[in-house]
Every structure is written in C-alpha cells, then in structure tokens.
Chain length 332, copies 2
DNA sequence: TTGTACGCGTTATCAG
DNA sequence: CTGATAACGCGTACAA
C-alpha cells in the first residue's frame, strides 16, 4: 500500500488496540498477567500494523546480544568457509551472532569493513594485511583478533599457524624422498611472507640451493594462478623435481601444469600443498599436503575474542597456535 | 584490570572531561563546532575509559542500518559459500550487513535460527524445509525470502531454480548419447523433491523405464554419500548406464564408486552432476553438470528482500528464476 | 489485569 | 563554541 512509511511503534499498536503501551509489550513478549481477550486484540492490531519491536530500542534496555564481525579474503576459496564454519560454531555456542564480510583480498576493502564493523560489531576477527597502526585507526577501540598472525607480530589478539613447523615437516618429507631441487609457489606479494621465509630456511638447512629463481609468485591463490606459476617455474628451473604450493589450490594448479608440460606427478615432479582442503583427496593424483585444522582456527579466534572482552589473559603458546600436519597422499 | 565492569557511557566521558554529553558526542563523531583543545581533552578521556558509543542507542536515534540474516544448510559444501558470496555482494552494495547462520540441514536448527534472527535482523533469506505455517510462527513478521523454492510454493518471497528445465536438458543429453538405463542419486528425503519429480517426468517422456528401483537416496549430500548411493544403485540395477546426481558432490562420489566397482566413466557409465561447482573441472574425468549461477541466486534473493521491504511487487517470472545450464565435460 | 512514570545511551534542536 | 532539553522505542518497577 505504502512502503515508504515509517514503521509502526509500540505506541501505534497501543493506540489502535485502545490499550497502553505496557499492555502491548506484555502481549508481544508473551508475558503472563494479561487477559487473553485483550491480548488477542493487541496481537491483532500489531499484525494489522505490521508491527515489530525495534531491535535497537530493545537492545538498549535489555543489554542486547553480542555481535562479532568476520572478515575473510575470499569466500570462494574453500579454505575460508571452513574457518568461517569454526567461527560460526563457536559464536553460536556463546549465543553470539556473526556478520560476515568478504574483503576480496583488498586492503582498501579490509579498511572499509573495519569502518563499518567498528560501528556495528562488538568485536572483529579476520584477515588483515595492514599494520597495527592503521588497523587501530579504523577500529575505534573495538577488540580485534587477527587470523594467522603470530602473537608476537601484533598488539591485537591473534591466532596463528605454525608455518615454520609445517614447512619444516614438508621439506623434510621431500628431501627424504630424494628430492634435491625444490621450488616454492609463493602467494605473498611484497615482503617475503612466513611460508617463503620458512621454506628458505628449511631448504637451506638441508644443504640445498635456494634463491629467488626457485621461488615464483602466484598472486592469484587459485588453481589457474598455481598453473601459471608452475609454468614459469618449469621454464626457469627445468631441473626442478619438487614444489610446495602456497596453498592447495595453487598446488592443484601446479599438478595440472606439470602434467600439461609432459611431466608425471609425482614421478617426475612431486607436488605438496599447504591447506588440507578436502578437494585434495578428489584430484588425480590425490594431493599430499600440510593439513591445517581450519575449524579449530576459527573456534580459537572466537575464544580469543571472548577473553579480550572479559579482560582475561589471551590464549597463548600452543593454545593459540595451530600446527600443520603432513598428510601424504599420491602427489608427493 | 576489571573486565566485568559495565561499559563506559557518554555520560562517564563527559563527567571525566568536565563537559556536557553533547560535547562528547561532537568530539567522538568528529563534527565541527568544537574547540580543538576541548575535543582533544574529550577524546583523551574517552580513550582512557575505553568508551565506545552504544550501537543500540545510536541506531535508535539515527535510524540504524539494515541487517539481513542468511541461513545456509552447510557452509562446508562449496555450493553454499558461492550463493553466500552473491548475497554478501548484493547486500554490501546496498550498505546492508548480513549475519550468517549454518543450520546443518537440521529443521530444528533452522527454526532456532529464525527465532534468533527474527529479533536481530530486518529480513531473512535462506534455505528452510518447514512449511510456510511453521516458518511464519517463528518469524514474527520479519520478511523472508526462500532460496530455491518456486514462487508458487510459498507465500513468502522466493528465488527459484528451474530444476525441471535443467533436468530436461540433462536427461535429453544422456538419451541423445544413447543411454537407455538412467538412474538418479536423489538427495531429498521424505516427499519426492523437485529433482526427483523432474527426473521421472523427463525420463518417462523419452519412453524409458523409471520406478523407485532406479532412484536411490543419498541423505549425505557429500562425496562419500554419493559413493554409497552409487554402490547401492549398482547393486540393484547393474544394467544402469548413466546416472544424474542430486548435486556435484554426490556425482563425484558416484564417479569414484563406479570406478571402484570396475566401471569406466563415461564409457561404461556416464555421470551427470547438478550444481556446477568449480571442483568439477578438477576431478578425473571432469564432471559434466547442470550449472547453476549461484552468485546470481544470492544477488536475486537480496533484491527480493529489498522489494519486500519497499512494499514493491516482488521479482517474478524469469527474473526470480535461475535456470541450470548444461555443461558437458568428460564424465557424460 | 492494566496503566504511569522512568531510564536505557545517543543524537538533534535550539538557546546562550 | 557549548550546554540544556527533548526525542528515539521499548521494558520494568510500581501504583491503581
């Protein structure tokens, strides 16, 4: 009839039903202490006016529930729905709700998300690339928990992944299998990320060669991005006999590119992923990978938020730190 | 120092800074009309008290932003993150935020989600199995848009998938390829769902046999669920030469089960999925499928919500109806 | 059983 | 530039 009209308030309902606002409140909230007849009359009026209590007014007086924001870089990458599932699970247990933002791996959009969430949420957890300083500026004091950042790297809450330990295991596995020419399909642009640093260290420790010629950047973090990266690596370092991918998607792309270039996997070149997506079991050959417990990551993040809010000591050490586990399948 | 203390209000800040609440408001909201010196003093006090404006109080007076709830059955199924991405995208464009719930395909949890969201959200979109009546009871008048329900099937808003048209195309393709013994790996328990109904109709139209012996139920909607279903179908109808899966995950499971049983795909048995997951391109053989534009589905749902809220006529016909597109790859 | 009066935390209006 | 005062919409003692 008229969609642009202001929404009905409790007052309107009271007026229409010929009662006081208090009575309306009782009827709507299904309290006792009200005559069934009037209650029906009130409810009817409410229905006719399409009345719904304002969640703001209600939250104001009832000390409304907790809302936390979740910022992920890319919902279409199967990795992130899994950590999101962990966050949702833990949040729900506490009766919290979570509003989700996809930043599309764009620092600008990450900041926009913060601007929004710092107003609408009681806490934020997510993936951010900016430095603490700039994050703080967009945060307005809202508690923040950074995903996949070491606790020593930020003054905010954090839940990390022990990339170094994972990479160590992965490289050791490859070396044990006899590989001496190992490449990295990296995903971190700009400064060397944890994976690259850990990779170089691990490879060096085994007395193998490493320099930037063994490392190619895959800005895409996708199967096709991995394919492109692998092609470049193959061109630059034809003698390569094993590669580890920044994540499973990239690794899968590497497998396909290797095969496309006429190499057998794992016989000619072994491929190791870093994620543990269930997708890895489905491809041919099945992907060996450093499996990360993503759900746990999400749950831990929520727990950190809870501690921050309570003013408790944040989780630390092994409790706020998930370590990748080597899963050997066919590809390596 | 003390986490359980009540949060500081604007009043506390005003008191500490020795100004009025109004001045605090001006400082915090970065309005003009305030002396830089006092502003700094106020901001300092706010910082010291860890003051953050109540989003409820603010929403109350400022006519707060729109929040919509999104309820999905299973975030770990790659299908749903994609529709979620569509919802988030469209919502963000309108400046709305969306709170996400995973119902784990449990009607009971779907209702819980409604109970919660009907209080905290201005609208809800999602997957629900209950009948209109019971949904309405948990909805308290909040606008609802049902995902993947025909507009004629509900009194709420809806965005549908033209399963019949899709299935028609799929079965036609199989028949054209010479298949005469076609099975269905269904996913809808209880009453026959749209896929099953459409399947039976399409197969019959081509003069082929159908009865429940050709149809097996996969309650799991996963790769392993599909595998189990395929195994049963193979046992019951060894002569089967083609199957269509309820979704791509189930179809992938079917492929693996078929191979495990010594059948070649697609030579001995063709497999057709129903989803269009990008995962389908990665498996071996690549999965033929009825591709659904899931992002669009999500975007349309948000658009429906917008119309509902504006009191406009909801989208209908082709505009609220996404039709699956046959993508032929290797598996069929 | 029903109504009155007040407070929740913030912003807007209008004086000063 | 700053400060009273009045909403915003609802819940809850307390009184009738």
């Amino acid at each position: 009839m008229d969609g642009a009209r202001r929404r009905a308030t409790i007052h309107d309902v009271a007026h229409l039903a010929g009662v006081s606002r208090q009575t309306v409140s009782r009827a709507v909230n299904d309290k006792g202490e009200i005559d069934p007849a009037t209650k029906e009359r009130v409810l009817d009026a409410a229905r006719r006016l399409d009345y719904r209590p304002s969640r703001f007014a209600r939250g104001l007086v009832r000390k409304g529930g907790v809302t936390t924001g979740l910022v992920v870089p890319d919902l279409m990458n199967p990795y992130f729905p899994e950590v999101a599932a962990g966050v949702l699970e833990a949040a729900e247990q506490r009766g919290w709700q979570v509003v989700v933002w996809d930043s599309r791996t764009d620092p600008g959009r990450e900041r926009e998300a913060l601007d929004m969430l710092s107003h609408q949420a009681d806490a934020v957890v997510g993936y951010f690339t900016d430095a603490d300083e700039v994050l703080a500026r967009h945060l307005g004091g809202v508690p923040l928990v950074l995903l996949e950042r070491g606790p020593r790297q930020t003054r905010f809450g954090a839940v990390g992944i022990d990339v170094a330990a994972g990479m160590e295991r992965g490289v050791a596995h490859l070396v044990a299998a006899g590989h001496r020419a190992i490449g990295l399909l990296d995903g971190d642009a700009g400064a060397p990320g944890p994976r690259r640093v850990a990779f170089e260290r691990a490879v060096r420790r085994h007395g193998l060669p490493v320099d930037e010629s063994w490392i190619v950047l895959c800005p895409e973090h996708s199967v096709s991005g991995g394919g492109a990266g692998m092609a470049r690596l193959l061109a630059r370092r034809p003698e390569v006999t094993a590669v580890v991918g920044f994540n499973d998607l990239i690794a899968v792309g590497a497998v396909r590119a290797a095969r496309g270039a006429g190499r057998r996997v794992p016989d000619d070149v072994a491929v190791l992923g870093f994620d543990g997506l269930s997708l890895g079991e489905l491809v041919e050959p099945a992907l060996s990978t450093l499996h990360i417990d993503k759900r746990r990551l999400g749950r831990l993040a929520v727990e950190q938020v809870a501690r921050l809010r309570a003013g408790e000591e944040p989780l630390s050490g092994a409790d706020a730190w998930v370590v990748p586990e080597l899963v050997v399948r066919a590809s390596a």
